[in-house]
Symmetry: C2
Subunit: 463 residues, 2 copies
Amino acid sequence: MHMRLASLLLAAALAVPAASAQVRQVDLIVYNAIVVTMDAASRIIPRGAVAIQDGRIAAVDAADAIAAAYTGRETLDAGGQVVLPGLINTHTHAPMVLYRGLADDLALMEWLQKYIFPAEAKTVTPEFVRAGTRLAALEMIQSGTTTYADMYYFEEEIARVTREAGLRGVLGQTIIQFPVADAKTPEEGLARTEAFLKEFAGDELIVPAIAPHAMYTLEARTLKAVRAMADRYSAPVLIHLAETADESKTSQQRHKMSPTRYLESLGFWGPRTLAAHAVWLSPADIQILARRNVGVSHNPESNMKLASGTAKVPALRTARVHVGLGTDGAASNNDLDMFEAMRQAAFLHKLTTGDPRAVPAPVALQMATIEGARALGMDDRLGSLEPGKRADLIVVSMRGARQTPMYDPVSHLVYVSRGDDVQTTIVNGKILMRDRKVLTLDEEKVLAEANVFAARVREAVGK
Amino acid sequence: MHMRLASLLLAAALAVPAASAQVRQVDLIVYNAIVVTMDAASRIIPRGAVAIQDGRIAAVDAADAIAAAYTGRETLDAGGQVVLPGLINTHTHAPMVLYRGLADDLALMEWLQKYIFPAEAKTVTPEFVRAGTRLAALEMIQSGTTTYADMYYFEEEIARVTREAGLRGVLGQTIIQFPVADAKTPEEGLARTEAFLKEFAGDELIVPAIAPHAMYTLEARTLKAVRAMADRYSAPVLIHLAETADESKTSQQRHKMSPTRYLESLGFWGPRTLAAHAVWLSPADIQILARRNVGVSHNPESNMKLASGTAKVPALRTARVHVGLGTDGAASNNDLDMFEAMRQAAFLHKLTTGDPRAVPAPVALQMATIEGARALGMDDRLGSLEPGKRADLIVVSMRGARQTPMYDPVSHLVYVSRGDDVQTTIVNGKILMRDRKVLTLDEEKVLAEANVFAARVREAVGK
C-alpha cells in the first residue's frame, strides 16, 4: 500500500470512537513512528505507536496492533520519524544559561574568580533564577530533555518555573559553607531545603532534592545533617564528587582519604544519591559507589572543556554503577543538548581506552535514558517506553541530508542527531512542543527577558 | 533609531543605483551583519557589510561605510546575524556519506573488512560516486562548508558534481597499490590522475589534486612518481599520514623509520602538500613537516571514534605547521559538520593537555577558516573576509534559546553553533543556499537518489 495512504487510514482508524468493549479510548496516540523503546530487550518497532492515558504509557506496540485496541481522543503523526524516551539530563545548573559563553578557555580558578563568582554575587536573585530557568527550560524542551537534575540557588523558583514549563525535575537546593545568594550559612541553607522538600512533596513533576555542593565546600557536620534530612524525607541527594585533581588532593591533605572514601567515612552515601562528575576515582572508590548503589552523572563535555579529566565510565559500568549523562551548567559546556553529551561520551571513551568498541551507540543512548533513570532511582517511572511508565517521549527527525541514508536509528541518534532535530516533546502525556513550536513558554518573551538579565551580567563583570 | 527602521533605510540606500562617481555598483551586498573577518587583526565588525563583485570581495566594512561607497545589484539582509568566511573541510571522502552509520563501534580491521571494503567493492561506480557527492554537497552547503579537500575514486565525477553544486573543491584522485573501482594498478591510477589534472586545470572552483592513499599502501616508486607529477603540474598532493599506531609500527618494521621520515627520505614532501590525521608524530617528524611547509588536516572526531589517538595540535602549531580541520568521511564520523569539528578540536586538546586554555575558541575558528586555507596553500584566495579574496561566506543564526545570551560571537560559533544554524551559504559570490533553501541542488531528488544506492549498499553487506 502507498505509505501516505496507509498512514491516513491508520490515522482514521486511531481516531474512531471506541465501537466495542475491546477498543479502549485513550488520551493520546503517537503513531507512524520508528519506536526505540529502550526496554530490557532493546526492542525497536519499525512501524510502531504509543498509546497514552492519564500521563502514563498505556501500550507500546506495532501501529496496527495499537489501532486495533485503542482509539485516541488526540492523535499525533510522528511522520515516520523516530520516537524514543525523553532524554534525562542528570546534572545541570539551569539558570547558568545566563552565563553561557561569558568567558571560556581559562584556567578554572581564573574563570571562577574573575567571572562566575563576581557575576553570581551581583546578579543571582529570584527574578534572575526564574528568567534563567525559563531560558533553560525552553532549550531543554527544544532539544528533547524531559527530566533534568539540577543544583542551584533559590531552587523553589526553579521548581515553579519547571512545573509551569511542564518539564520533570529532580531539583536540588544547594547547601554550601560560605554565604551565597539565598543563604548566609549552611544552617540557613538546610532550613531552606527543608521548607523546599515540604512544599513540593508529592508533586507530579517535581522531585525536591538536597544538593550539598561538594565534600570540599562543606563541613562534616553539615554533610551528616544532609544525610539525616534525606533519610527523614526520603529525598534524593545530589553532590559534586571528585570532579578535579585538586579536589582529590585537598581531600588527601585534609582527611588522608579520597573524596569518595571520606564521604563513606561520614556515613554520607545512601539511597537515591547521585554523584556528579566522579572523574578521580580509584578502584576502591568505584567499589564504594557500587556497594552503596550511588548513581553517577557523567559530564563528558564539561570535563573536557574544563580539562578536569576523564571519568572511568567503562570501569564504573563493569562494577554495575549506574552512569547517566549530564551537560553540566551551560557556563561550562556551553549548551544543554543531551545529543552532544551522548556523542561525546561515545567518542571520549573510545579515545581514552584505545578501543573503538568502548561505549558503543546503544550504551550511549542507554546512558541518556534508562541508565540516567536508574542513576536517579526513577527507573520504575522513567527511562523507557513501557506500559505503566510516565509518558515522557520525543519525536526525532531523520529527514535531512545529514541523516541520509539511515541504516540504524540508534547509530544516528548518537552520531548525527542534534537537539534541533527534536520535533515534538511530550512530558507526563502533555505535549510541550509540537513540530518545533513550544506550547508552554512564550519563546520571544523568554529570550527578551534573558537579554535583559544578560545586560546586568555584562555590567557585573565589566564586559 | 529603531533597529528595523535603520535596517530598512540601509537596505534602501544599498539598493539605490550609483548616483555619483564615488558610489560603485557591485553584484551583491550582504549587510546587517556581525562580520567576523578572520583577518590578521581578528577584526569583528558589529554592524558590518560585505560588498561582492565578480566572485570576489570588493570591501568589508561598517554597514554605513559600505552604504556610502557601494550600491548592490542584489542585497542580502543577514538579519543581524553573524557573517564569517565559509568553512574549509581539509579532509573528507565525499561519496562515503552513502556508508554513514552502516557500521560503528568496531575494531578498525573488522569495520574495514566486514563492511567498508565489501561495500566499496560491490557498489562504487561513477553513478554511485555522483549520487554520494550530491548528498555530501547538499550536507556541506547546508552546514556552511564552502571549500573541501577530498580523496576518493572517480574523482572527475566528484569534480563535475561539485562544480554543478557551486562548491569549491581541492579534489584528489586516489592512487593506491591494490586494484580499486577506477584503476587496476597504480600506473592506471597515475594515468587517470594526469588526465584529471589536465581536464580541470584553471577551473574557477575545482583545484585538481593527486591523492596517494598512504605510505603503507603504496610502493616507493609510485610515491616518487606522484611527487614528479605534482611538480610537473604544480598540483596539490593529499595523503593520509600516521593515522594509527599500526601505520607507525609498519613503517618502523619495513623502513626503520617513521612514516613522516620515510616520505622525507623519498623526497616526497613538497609544496602544497597536505597530510591528513598526522596523529603519530615525533618531535623530529613535526620538524620535517614544518621545514617542508606541509599542511596538516586534523580530524578530531574521526580520530576519537576510531580510537586512532590524539594529534599533537598544540605542538604542531608551536612549530608553525598550518593545521586545518577535517571531518574525514561520514562513514567514520558520521557527518560533515565542521562546527562539530571545531568544537571537538577545542574540547579534545584541553583534555589531553590538561590545560583549559589549549585551542581556545578563536584558534578553533582559525583552524576551520584561515589556517585551513594556509594548510591547503590557498590563503591568498580563501579563509578570511578581505578585499580581493574569493567571496566565500556564510550567515550563521544566533537567534535561538541555545545561543541566548550572546556575549561573544566567536565563543558561540565554536561552543554552541551547529551546521543547521547556517542560514545562507555563498561561494565565489554565488548564493548556494538562502534562508536554508539550497538553490543549486534539488534536495528531495538528491535524498531519494541516495536512498536508492543505500539499498544496494545494504544488499552488498547483507544488512
